[in-house]
Symmetry: C2
């Protein structure tokens, strides 16, 4: 049995990235669920594990802990085909991982979180519409890139695809229709067909 | 003469990261300034170079182009002491780079951009205060981490320090006072003392 523990919240796309990659790589881990809606990542106990108060958090069981979903992805997949060895391909993987956290996640994941977890009367509709517009812009950047490619980098499945799949495949839950992005839809289907693919709520 | 071109905007902390690292590494490049306030990164010509419409953008002069400041940092510094070779140290560098783009930049850099470049009557004061609160939270996470360390990872200067220095050292321009974060202030001084350090508006 592995001594790795992933602190996570099952509906989280950020957590799903790590769970999907570790499942596909055959790396066993124990899942400890922390309900972010109930504030379980802001308790003194959890803040002692991750001062930034966020899941996912990978605990290696020897005192080492790693936060940030895309850092966890790069760490667990290093040396596997999911992370290219070629410096230029690696650089492009990095580019898409940072694009995901800066231009995509705040505008595709956040509307989903608000619409799924925040009481309707507490949702700021102006901010929601702004974020959805930026979310559509990010999906447009992805669609243009994928219109001539099968995957984001090097024509094969990498952690860049895992990171961008996580919230894109549930974008509709944030009020974002993927129909205007046909290349994204075809790519989603290709990601889903990868060996050992599991769904966002798969519990092993 | 190098054939590398950096498309950039001089006041940009994201651009500064790349300029500072390339200067410290002795990598020559040509700087092409794009005024983001004047919309120069959203022209059809620039969107053909970077579909996401953002600086910094590194053009290698052979058809290859790389976006996302932290991806550029990792690419230009790979193999140098600024990027650790050890897998666990690398993972921690990744963690802080993603922290910077997700928890720090949107809340430390954006208030600065609004206060420096947006007409006062157009600033959303509620959003500004929210971002400043989150900015102080990010600075608090950094201060706690640095209270027992000289640099972010491995007790030496890496791209994680460069990335976090870029907007932290001008946080006051976004209305964020650094006085409550003494470990951050001591670390800023250490970064500034590094060989071949240059300021954000240094033009070579």
């Amino acid at each position: 049995m592995s001594s790795w523990t992933l602190y996570d919240y099952l509906p989280s796309g950020n957590g799903y990235k790590c769970r999907l990659a570790m499942h596909q790589l055959g790396k066993p881990f124990r899942l400890v669920q922390k309900d972010i809606v109930a504030g379980m990542t802001r308790t003194p106990e959890f803040l002692a594990l991750n001062a930034n108060g966020r899941i996912p958090l990978l605990d290696l069981g020897d005192g080492r802990r790693l936060a940030e979903s895309n850092a966890i992805l790069l760490f667990v997949a290093e040396g596997s085909p999911l992370v290219p060895a070629d410096p230029w391909e690696r650089a492009q993987v990095y580019q898409w991982l940072f694009f995901e956290q800066y231009s995509h996640e705040p505008n595709v994941a956040t509307p989903r979180f608000w619409l799924q977890h925040v009481p309707e009367e507490k949702i700021d509709r102006v901010q929601l519409a702004k974020k959805q517009d930026l979310g559509r812009a990010a999906l447009g950047v992805m669609d243009r890139h994928l219109s001539t490619r099968t995957f984001f980098v090097g024509e094969r499945y990498t952690v860049a695809d895992i990171a961008l799949y996580a919230y894109t495949h549930v974008a509709d839950e944030g009020g974002l229709d993927l129909a205007p992005f046909p290349a994204v839809l075809r790519w989603l289907a290709r990601v889903k067909e990868q060996p050992r693919h599991v769904t966002i709520t798969y519990l092993g």
